[in-house]
């Protein structure tokens, strides 16, 4: 199997630390006048997105270009998928054009893992179903470390639709490897008890106040209506019980930060005031996305 990046679960701590350190090197590049480097000059990256995405696709494309690589983006609606070609045939076709890596997002959990067993090209997972979204967890860790000296000993609350969240799974795997105390919180129907076995240091609660109390980091998740196959929770009262409001911040550590992988739904999982408040780092996460993806692309094909 070629070396790509399929998930956080199979990475060890040293590999994660190396990516995060390299991403820090790339941070200043983002605010330079001339942003283009040449580490990946002559390389070709294909972004294959089977699911709608603005920030991740753009972020990977910019990251590739800032490293001097060529990047093309394909969305499923405009491709042979609509002509009934199977996933493995589409990928074999793309692989025959010899890209150096395929960045892939797919609605089916494990789609990149399945393909990696049959393809010679490295695959970078840009989100697979409800499984993993490794670069999101890496950029989240980078963002936390921009404000804290270390991850060890922090308390991180992840709140929302955990069952359907690939962001939550990748973050749990990453944070657990660094000894973070992780609290997962959401309505019981979106919080399967087996999540507690995902990694060491994970605790579950259905009480948002319990989750936030003394937290250093509060990660809010989008309510993913498109992944819910049934009414798992009465939508009308979601915000009342699981929406983050300014008054909740009094329970957390005084310097606690609020994160969100985006896109945010104001008034559903967090109030507009929280989204815009001084310790919300949502846009900083987006900015770090490019530096982290540069580090990942360099590691995979550099």
């Amino acid at each position: 199997m070629p070396a790509g990046l399929l998930g956080i679960e199979e990475l060890d701590r040293a590999e994660i630390e190396a990516i995060l350190a390299r991403a820090k090197d790339f941070q200043p590049v983002q605010s330079q006048t001339l942003k283009k480097l040449d580490q990946l000059r002559g390389k070709m990256i294909v972004n294959l997105f089977y699911e709608a995405s603005t920030r991740t696709r753009t972020s990977f494309e910019i990251a590739a270009k800032r490293l001097g690589a060529d990047a093309i983006s394909i969305t499923a609606s405009g491709s042979s998928v609509s002509k009934g070609e199977s996933l493995v045939d589409t990928l074999n076709t793309l692989a025959a054009m010899r890209p150096d890596a395929i960045v892939m997002r797919h609605a089916a959990s494990g789609a990149p893992h399945f393909l990696a067993r049959h393809l010679p090209t490295p695959i970078i997972n840009a989100g697979d179903g409800t499984h993993e979204h490794p670069t999101q967890a890496l950029l989240d860790a980078r963002t936390i470390l921009d404000r804290r000296s270390r991850l060890e000993g922090l308390k991180v609350a992840i709140i929302g639709d955990i069952a359907h969240s690939r962001v939550a799974r990748s973050n749990v795997h990453l944070l657990s490897k660094f000894g973070v105390e992780i609290v997962l919180c959401g309505p019981a129907s979106l919080l399967p008890v087996e999540l507690a076995q995902l990694a060491p240091g994970v605790r579950l609660t259905t009480d948002i106040c319990d989750a936030i109390r003394e937290a250093d980091v509060i990660m809010m998740l989008r309510v993913q209506l498109e992944r819910q196959h049934e009414a798992a929770f009465p939508a009308s009262e979601y915000f009342q019980f699981y929406g983050l409001r300014l008054e909740h911040m009094d329970l957390a550590k005084p310097d606690a930060i609020v994160m969100h992988p985006g896109p945010i739904n104001r008034g559903r999982e967090l109030s507009s005031e929280v989204a815009d408040f001084s310790r919300s780092v949502i846009l900083h996460q987006v900015e770090n996305g490019i530096a982290v993806r540069m580090a990942v692309l360099e590691k995979v094909i550099g």
Binding site: S86, V88, A108, G110, F114, D128, E194
Partner: protein, 426 residues
């Protein structure tokens, strides 16, 4: 000139006639004539079974032969040849063909195809409802007259309890067993594997054990109400086994089977996102797997059936959630029973033979499963110590979907004799 075959000097295990001794088996013109020492063999074909086990022909009461309608995945001919290579002399095929076997026409077609092309005895199972749609009862009496030996909507459980009650009443009046694939489709909707720690870890939607338990509970109540001979297909959960055991102790004519993969594997053995581990019911947790093994040892589970479910390679080469359910299993069943049940001492050899002979015979009543004089000349010869490696690319089946490819087994089938003729030998 009579056709004579002698199976010489094997250890004959025939639980139906309480036999376990080294002897010869003599078959003349397709019927067993006798079991005993030094039977005459002049002008007879001789199979030397020294060091091997000689048993009544094994019955697999639950296979999918895909014909008519899905001949790219399997045919009656190819599936029956896989059965012979797995040591089975009789197989019962489920009705989820295209068209569904819900009529005398389709039943007769299967019987005719089998007569001209099959390597082993093939017995069709008719649908419970038209098109297995779960609403209107199929032509059960006509199918029985054409050769159907049971009814089932396998794969599409009868969700409507009133329809199931009526079906049981008909099954009882026609003296047919009614076989249910137990799955509450509302509880299992969209699931791709057992609901548990691995499904949550991999972000795959779960099929809870409760979806099986709920259906078994409902059906046992209906079986009590109607008196039908009710059989649970491929049982896989602790509660379901316990409920069948309770029903049997209370005198209900309820039975159940399990599959080699459900007693051999659990979700802890799965290769992530490999569709060769995707089937219904799903591989359960190790605790459920253990309960299945205990159910076999305790006698609650009376039959091993493979649920041989061929799918073409292209159908299984997809995203896990898009792949169809099921694996092939005819050729690995005996080896798995020997390795997972007999070798570790969970059951003895004689009990294992029962699970493939008198067990399914008790449900299906095919008039087989014994070597008593006058019985059909179906014999399964197997070895408990031959070492062999399963290469699915050599399989007579048209499909390749198995998690056991490349596994080296100790023990396996050696020869399959159907109606007095050698259908396969190693």
């Amino acid at each position: 000139m009579p056709t004579v075959i002698v199976i010489r000097n094997g250890r004959v295990i025939d639980p139906a006639s309480n036999t376990d001794r080294v002897a010869d088996v003599l078959i003349v013109d397709g019927r067993v004539v006798g079991v005993g020492p030094n039977l005459p063999s002049s002008k007879a074909e001789v199979f030397d079974a020294t060091g091997m086990i000689v048993a009544p022909g094994f019955i697999d009461m639950h296979v999918h032969l895909r014909e008519p309608g899905f001949e790219h995945a399997e045919t009656i001919e190819s599936g029956s040849r896989a059965a012979a290579a797995g040591g089975f002399t009789s197989i019962c095929c489920m009705p989820n063909t295209k068209p569904v076997n819900d009529s005398k026409t389709v039943t007769s077609y299967i019987v005719e195809q089998a007569r001209s092309k099959a390597a082993v005895n093939v017995f069709p199972i008719g649908a419970i409802t038209k098109g297995s749609g779960g609403e209107e009862l199929a032509a059960i009496g006509a199918m029985k007259a054409a050769g159907a030996v049971a009814i089932s909507d396998d794969g599409l459980p009868v969700m409507n309890a009133r329809v199931m009650r009526r079906a049981m009443e008909f099954a009882k009046s026609y003296d047919l067993p009614i076989i249910q694939h137990c799955e509450d489709l509302n509880l299992s909707a969209g699931g791709d594997m057992h609901e548990g720690a691995p499904s949550v870890r991999w972000g795959l939607r779960g099929i809870p054990a409760a979806s099986e338990d709920v259906m078994v509970a409902r059906d046992l109540v209906l079986a009590q109400l109607t008196g039908a001979r009710y059989h649970v297909a491929h049982i896989s959960t602790r509660n379901a086994v316990a409920m069948v055991q309770y029903a049997r102790r209370n005198g209900l004519p309820a039975t159940c089977e399990t599959t080699p993969h459900h007693f051999s594997l659990s979700d802890a053995c799965m290769v992530p996102y490999d569709s060769n581990y995707k089937m219904k019911p799903p591989l359960r947790s190790p605790g459920h797997q253990q309960a299945v093994v205990e159910g076999i040892a305790a006698g609650t589970i009376s039959a091993i059936a493979t649920d041989h479910a061929p799918h073409a390679g292209s159908d299984k080469m997809q995203e896990f959630e898009r792949c169809p359910f099921g694996i092939i299993g005819l050729e690995t069943a005996i080896a798995l029973a020997l390795e997972e049940l007999v070798a570790p001492g969970k059951i003895g050899l004689s009990r294992m033979v029962e699970l493939f002979t008198t067990g399914p015979e008790g449900v299906m009543r095919l008039g087989r499963g014994t070597l008593a004089p006058g019985a059909p000349g179906d014999v399964t010869v197997f070895s408990t110590d031959i070492s062999w490696t399963y290469d699915v690319n050599q399989s007579p089946s048209r499909s390749r979907n198995t998690p056991f490819h490349g596994r080296t087994f100790r023990g396996g089938p050696m020869a399959t004799i159907v109606n007095g003729a050698i259908a396969w030998k190693r």
